[in-house]
């Protein structure tokens, strides 16, 4: 407990945020976020991760400003397989396209895949986990059995088989990855729901006549979201690697698109003489997935420090 009079207490907007006795709910909420940010800020590795992920998002948004679209997609056969130069910072590929520009535009594909997978996986995971945890009984048994079955499958191989069945392409790669990625979220949501099922505020809502659907959506979902989102951040790296793996095998984004995994695959043919064609896009995959891992680790440390 802090004393009313604090020596050297922050003033101004920081003082308002760190006020031990917030005057409003919003002030308390913002203060909590600010304290979390301060703790996160001290974690150098986590900050590195945040910077990498932010850079990915910015690169995807401002790709046309960072690189010339023409260089990324237009084939200039007389300029093929060039070494590093001012015009081509990372050289050119086997069709004379600028690798730097392709990597920059490729960030859009990576971000699209990650975004789409999250949009699919979160509702499916919550949609299965929440009722299982809330209702219990046979609903729980059936839903968790299904989850266990999907959890017991090898992820990449199943995604591979799905991608093969649905045909190659980004959309199908996204569906394939999502189909194999949702079970952990269902389990997490179930566990989070079970710990809160008999909480007093839930019973209060029940007494007021709120429907189960309403309780799940307005009372339980907001409480589950933080841990689910942390888990999602940690999973991002795996999703990116699986997507890149599918691309590398030729089952993800198709050739003219600058998908990083597919770029590594085409660069294999000239690996020994023009090493940059395959390794530069691979490095991009590596850095981005490292960024998500660092960020996720930092967020997890934060939530563990707060809860324990």
């Amino acid at each position: 407990m802090s004393t009313p009079l604090r020596v050297g207490a922050p003033t101004g907007w920081r003082g308002w945020l760190l006020d031990p006795a917030p005057a409003s709910r919003n002030q308390a909420r913002l203060g909590r976020w600010y304290r979390a940010w301060l703790a996160f800020h001290r974690n150098g590795l986590a900050m590195t991760g945040l910077v990498i992920v932010a850079a990915l998002v910015l690169a995807a948004i401002f790709a046309p400003l960072l690189a010339d679209r023409e260089l990324a997609f237009h084939q200039v056969l007389e300029d093929r397989l060039q070494d590093f130069s001012w015009l081509h910072p990372f050289g050119t590929d086997e069709l004379g396209r600028d690798i730097y520009a392709r990597v920059v535009f490729g960030s859009r594909i990576t971000l699209t895949i990650v975004g789409l997978v999250s949009i699919i996986v979160l509702p499916v995971g919550l949609g299965i986990g929440l009722p299982a945890g809330y209702f219990g009984g046979w609903i729980d048994s059936v839903l968790m059995r299904i989850t266990d079955i999907f959890l017991a499958f090898p992820r990449l191989v199943l995604a591979l088989a799905f991608a093969a069945a649905l045909g190659p392409g980004i959309e199908n790669a996204v569906i394939a990855i999502s189909l194999t990625a949702w079970p952990p979220y269902a389990r997490l949501a179930r566990a989070e729901t079970m710990t809160r099922r008999h909480a007093e505020f839930i019973e209060a809502a029940q007494l007021q006549g709120a429907s189960s659907f309403r309780i799940l959506l307005t009372q339980i979902v907001p409480l589950c979201l933080p841990s689910v989102i942390i888990r999602l951040t940690l999973d991002m790296a795996g999703i990116i690697l699986t997507a890149a793996g599918l691309g590398f095998l030729g089952l993800g984004a198709q050739p003219p698109l600058p998908e990083w995994g597919a770029m590594v695959s085409t660069g294999r043919a000239v690996l020994l003489d023009q090493w940059w064609v395959a390794t530069i896009p691979g490095t991009a995959i590596f850095i981005v997935s490292l960024g998500f891992n660092l960020l996720g680790d930092g967020l997890r440390d934060l939530s563990e420090a707060r809860s324990g």
């Binding site: 590795l45 059995r145 299904i146 266990d148 079955i149 999907f150 017991a152 499958f153 090898p154 992820r155 990449l156 191989v157 199943l158 591979l160 088989a161 799905f162 093969a164 069945a165 649905l166 045909g167 790296a237 690697l241 890149a244 793996g245 590398f248 095998l249 030729g250 089952l251 995994g261 590594v264 695959s265 294999r268 690996l271 020994l272 090493w275 395959a278 390794t279 691979g282 490095t283 995959i285 590596f286 997935s289 490292l290 891992n293 660092l294 680790d297």
Partner: protein, 350 residues
């Protein structure tokens, strides 16, 4: 408690455990067959055309359509499919024109050789590194191990394989390149297990053995690094929870050397949990093998599946998925069975 009664109860408990385990295993297996069945049906390629070709006459098409039982209701089709799978009939591979099962058995040893070697690398380095990280928590060895395993988590295995080939094969020439052994050594060693390193030792062909090893070491280390990252991380967290226990303090107070306390007593208790981790790691290695095999032209299950994919060879892809899925399920089951064998506490519980 009298001895016989406890003994009887233990056996009864064991039987119940096994029954429960078999139940969940067969349920998972049914799920696996359901999924592969669905994959077989939603595939955009017409399975009939894949067999008869696009120029087949109407009557040929319909005959094959009936032969494949595509005119029956879907539940019946599934039932027929399940019966075939249980008899080990995965159909014929369109690419090799052999039964899929015999193809799978031919290519699987190569994958097994690669992933077992990778597992050995991962366990032999991962566990000691995890222990050292735990005993030096927060100091530089811990930081290095943690960051190193984070790198391992983040690397695309196919990229790491290419970089490894570039450096250790092309530039330094320390190891042999893609493939399982040099072409000149083909067909020297009779196939016994299908794993060339083992077969060459059995045949006493030292030269073949060293050549095969030289081909194996790079892909195995690269795949092993990924499992090392996971094993080291889990070992570290298990060890940390052990080192907090009072018996550690007690044994130290009794005058046992810290080395003995850490590596014998604490690690001894961690083994139990590690068994599960190692089993799961092995499963993920089989998956990583698909990509690694593509990079290293390793003629195993992964390369077989990849080639089948592009030949639109549905039977082979589904057969490969089933094989890896079954290995996965068996590994999960084994870790459940081994658990009470290595941990007396799990055995006497209830």
């Amino acid at each position: 408690m009298t001895a016989p009664r406890g003994w009887v109860r233990q056996i009864a408990g064991l039987i119940r455990r096994i029954a429960g385990l078999l139940g969940s295993v067969s349920l998972t297996f049914l799920g696996l067959t359901c999924v592969t069945f669905v994959i077989g049906r939603v595939i955009p390629i017409d399975p009939v055309i894949a067999i008869v070709g696009e120029k087949a006459t109407r009557s040929t098409y319909e005959r094959v359509f009936k032969e494949l039982n595509l005119d029956r209701p879907i539940p019946e089709q599934y039932w027929i499919y399940l019966k075939k799978i249980l008899h080990g009939e995965f159909g014929t591979s369109l690419m090799t024109a052999h039964p899929v099962l015999s193809d799978l058995l031919r290519v699987f040893p190569a994958t097994l050789e690669l992933s077992v070697s990778a597992l050995i690398v991962g366990v032999c380095f991962g566990i000691p590194l995890g222990v050292v990280a735990a005993t030096h928590k927060g100091r530089w060895p811990d930081q290095i191990v943690r960051f190193g395993s984070l790198l391992g988590y983040s690397m695309p295995v196919f990229w790491l394989g290419l970089v490894g080939l570039l450096i250790f094969y092309a530039k330094l020439g320390w190891v042999e390149g893609p493939g399982r052994m040099d072409v000149s050594f083909d067909d020297i060693v009779p196939t016994v297990t299908g794993m060339i390193t083992v077969d060459s030792l059995l045949a006493g062909e030292d030269e073949v053995f060293w050549n095969a090893m030289s081909h194996l070491v790079l892909p195995a280390s690269i795949l092993g690094y990924l499992s090392l990252a996971y094993v080291a991380r889990m070992t570290r967290s298990f060890m940390l929870s052990q080192l907090r226990q009072e018996y550690v303090l007690a044994t130290l107070a009794k005058g046992l050397s810290p080395f003995r306390v850490v590596w014998i007593h604490a690690l001894g208790n961690v083994w139990v949990q590690l068994v599960t981790v190692i089993a799961l790691t092995f499963g993920s290695l089989l998956e990583g093998a698909v990509l690694t095999e593509t990079v290293f032209a390793w003629p195993g299950l992964g390369l077989y599946m990849k080639n089948s994919l592009f030949a639109a060879d549905l039977n082979a892809v589904i057969g490969g998925t089933m094989l890896i899925g079954v290995v996965y399920i068996v590994l999960n089951m084994l870790s459940d069975v081994i658990y009470p064998l290595v941990d007396p506490r799990a055995r006497t519980r209830k």
